[in-house]
């Protein structure tokens, strides 16, 4: 994609821990186009959040380090820029919302002031203008009775409302890209749907790209246009979300989809993926999924599969599996 807004190429991140060097990202490549919603899927520890942290310059310091690959945002090489500039760029052009709305707002400030503060500091607005804009934003994300409520503290709001406030904050500077790191994990199901709808509406309104990080495949199906599935710090599969869902090209995606409860099969047992995600201190040799893979053969034990397009399928679907054609023809 030549006009990608954010493109990550072969990104490698290392953490130094007490038990040795860990490489939670080992060659992740993905692209987010202008105004597009990309879902980044995977189970815990697959490297989803680390990807977001690497883009935003939020890797835990001094343990985390980008050791290879490139992150380009709108023709600027983020890995080559000094941290201050990355920070400034991120502040205005990339917004981020977090998993836990309970801890992502500062408990000691009123929410109106929290939303207004970046407007005053970054755009140099006066207090009155900034407050007016904050009010508008809070109203847009669906906080009722804003004039009154913006003077309240975060603990006086419900989880869903706090996430809405967080979204208002992230949108305050009009970002081109919004990174949403599991925005609905901590919320209950009805609120999840509301937040996802809000994100989708806002995206269409503002023509903003969204990188939606989640482990919940159900949540993203209606919102995202493309999906990237991560497994053990590498891309397992990527493609249009319908293609990925309807005919998975990687056994891992297939397993993930099989483990979602389906409404129509009431009472039926779920099919979990056998085994546990690998320990990042000791990723398996060869294909990292092979110990859990029903398709695994001798070759998978030794040879790390490259991300490639399955022969004879849609041009924008790709998987890193030696036997992707077989997976596709079975599914």
């Amino acid at each position: 994609m030549p006009d990608a807004l954010l493109s990550i190429e072969d990104l490698q991140v290392e953490f130094s821990t007490r038990d040795g060097l860990v490489r939670p990202l080992d060659g992740v490549t993905l692209e987010v186009g202008h105004g597009e919603t990309l879902a980044l899927l995977g189970e815990s520890g697959s490297g989803k959040s680390v990807t977001a942290q690497a883009v935003m310059g939020l890797l835990p310091q001094p343990a985390g380090k980008i050791v290879g690959g490139r992150i380009r945002f709108d023709d600027q090489e983020l890995t080559a820029l000094p941290p201050q500039q990355v920070r400034a760029l991120c502040g205005t052009r990339i917004g981020m919302i977090f998993q836990d709305p309970l801890s992502s707002l500062n408990p000691v400030f009123r929410v109106g002031d929290q939303v207004a503060e970046p407007l005053r500091r970054r755009l140099g607005l006066r207090r009155r203008e900034a407050n007016a804009r904050a009010l508008e934003l809070l109203h847009r994300v669906g906080i009722p009775d804003v004039e009154h409520r913006m003077h309240h503290y975060p603990h006086q709001f419900s989880g869903g409302q706090r996430q809405r406030i967080m979204i208002a904050m992230a949108l305050s500077l009009g970002p081109d890209l919004l990174i949403a790191d599991e925005p609905t994990t901590a919320l209950d199901v009805t609120v999840q749907a509301q937040i996802m709808n809000l994100l989708r509406d806002l995206q269409q309104e503002r023509d903003m790209a969204i990188l939606l990080i989640t482990h919940d495949l159900g949540v993203v199906a209606d919102v995202a246009s493309r999906a990237v599935v991560l497994y053990a710090g590498r891309v397992a599969e990527q493609g249009r979300i319908r293609d990925v869902y309807d005919h998975s090209a990687h056994p891992y995606t297939e397993g993930l989809l099989a483990s979602i409860p389906q409404q129509e099969e009431g009472g039926a047992r779920l099919t979990p993926i056998a085994g546990a995600p690998p320990n990042p201190l000791a990723f398996p040799q060869g294909c990292r999924f092979h110990p859990r893979c029903p398709y695994a053969q001798e070759r998978c034990r030794d040879e790390l599969p490259e991300l490639r397009r399955p022969v004879g399928w849609a041009p924008d679907q790709a998987a890193s599996c030696h036997f992707t054609e077989e997976v596709l023809s079975r599914g």
Binding site: M56, G57, L58, P62, Q84, R87, A88, C90, G91, T92, I94, G95, M96, F98, Q99, D100, S103, S104, L105, N106, P107, V108, F109, P118, R121, R122, H155, M166, M169, A170, S172, L173
Partner: protein, 300 residues
Amino acid sequence: MTTETAGVDREVTAAFDTVKRRSANAAGRRRIVTCLVIVACYVLVALFGPMLRKYDPVQTFTQDRLMPPGSTTSQGLALLGTDQVGQDILSQMMLGARVSITVGAGTLLLAGLIGVTVGLVAGYRGGWVDAALMRLADIQLSFPSILLAILIAAVVGPSVVNVIVVLAITNWVTFARVTRGQVLTVKNREYVDAARTLGAGHLHLALRTIFPSCVAPILVVATVELGHVILAEASLSFLGLGVPTDVPSWGSTIANGRDYLGDAWWISTLPGIALAALVLTCGLLGDAMRDRYDPKLRSL
């Protein structure tokens, strides 16, 4: 039937809990207000008392020596008696309150400023800076603070400012530790990351995002420390290493009366009681504030 009663029970328990919580809140507030009123009385006496009764530290009235509380002297009524050179105890105590409160407030400000800065820098920056600053604090702590104060006071000589500096040097560690601990717990909250994603710089993160969450525990520590500091000043003055001799302090008044305890108990006892009451009030105030503002008891 059973479920119905269970429901009612639950409601009743809930109602009781609310009442209990409310009354606990009210009691907590009452404790804080009472303590604050007592401290305020001390401050008022320290501010205005010496204006009402003139006191000259070098003037003596030998005919009024060792008069018990309530006696009439050549200078008028000596409500709390006179000392061995005929000076009025009440006047001395009111001036002593001024010294104690000045030293207490000044020390807290200075120690707090140093301690909070060190704690904030150490906690926020982490790494070798943290290690260096905290080892410095450990070294400071391993010295018995009163001995250090005596050493410094003996070297730089007696004056109110010196006492404040000495006590600040021995007391900043508490502030540094509390601040650092709080910074460490707050530093990794998502709202700090959120502020960072919105482009906040280090100074802004430390002062505007993290520091406000540290204020409550620092205030609690400050209240408890106030009692300690006042006591430490009295101890230094008692040993003759505190404020100069022409400034009456509770500690020096107590020391003066030591030789007359047998026949003029009021010289040492009354300033002692005033001192004990103030220190106790500070301690209780600190306790009450901790109960109310402890971050562990607060829903964040």
